[in-house]
Point group: C2
Chain length 109, copies 2
């Protein structure tokens, strides 16, 4: 998994400590994430999944939530909650930068 | 105002019929939108603003909401509600495509 975005570093850190009900959105193929979310509900029996993303991946996270709930799990899963926030961190040039984050909670109907 | 994105056409259509409390996010400079939102609260006396975006501009809409509420209008304005949805429309090649949308409602504290 190549890291082509310096702003993904904090995401990687979070990812290590995350539980199975959290899906972090990055630069992998779109359908990997959709399948991951759908499988958590269908084969892992999850009742709730949290899709997290930061920066430019926020648009993607919304797409994934929409495709998972409207195309694959219609009538079964819905967007239960959406939260946005900001995080501050130092980029590789040592500059303090702000990045927006989103958390989309999907739950069974 | 150059239109470099074919997927902005439906946005432009909506924009014409919108009221003053709705800010549509597109490709203009970032601070134009932040200033627009802040001014609606400070000089126009708005109690509520809805920031709308579609597709790749969703990440930007979240950034604008975060910067407006955390940097410029801290203690005054907060993110009251967030909704996501999808729209289907024909692109310029005549293909039916799906695009995600977001609506971020900012309100006075």
């Amino acid at each position: 998994m190549a890291e082509d975005n310096s702003d993904q570093q904090p995401e990687e850190k979070q990812q290590r400590g995350s539980n199975d009900n959290v899906v972090f959105i990055g630069g992998k193929p779109f359908m990997n994430y959709v399948t991951g979310v759908v499988m958590q509900f269908t084969t892992q029996g999850a009742n709730e999944i949290i899709i997290k993303a930061r920066g430019k991946f926020i648009s993607r996270a919304v797409d994934i939530a929409e495709v998972a709930t409207k195309r694959f799990l219609e009538e079964q899963v819905f967007v239960k909650d959406i939260k946005i926030d900001s995080e501050e961190f130092k980029n590789k040039e040592g500059k303090q930068v702000r990045v927006s984050t989103i958390e989309l909670t999907l739950g069974r109907k």
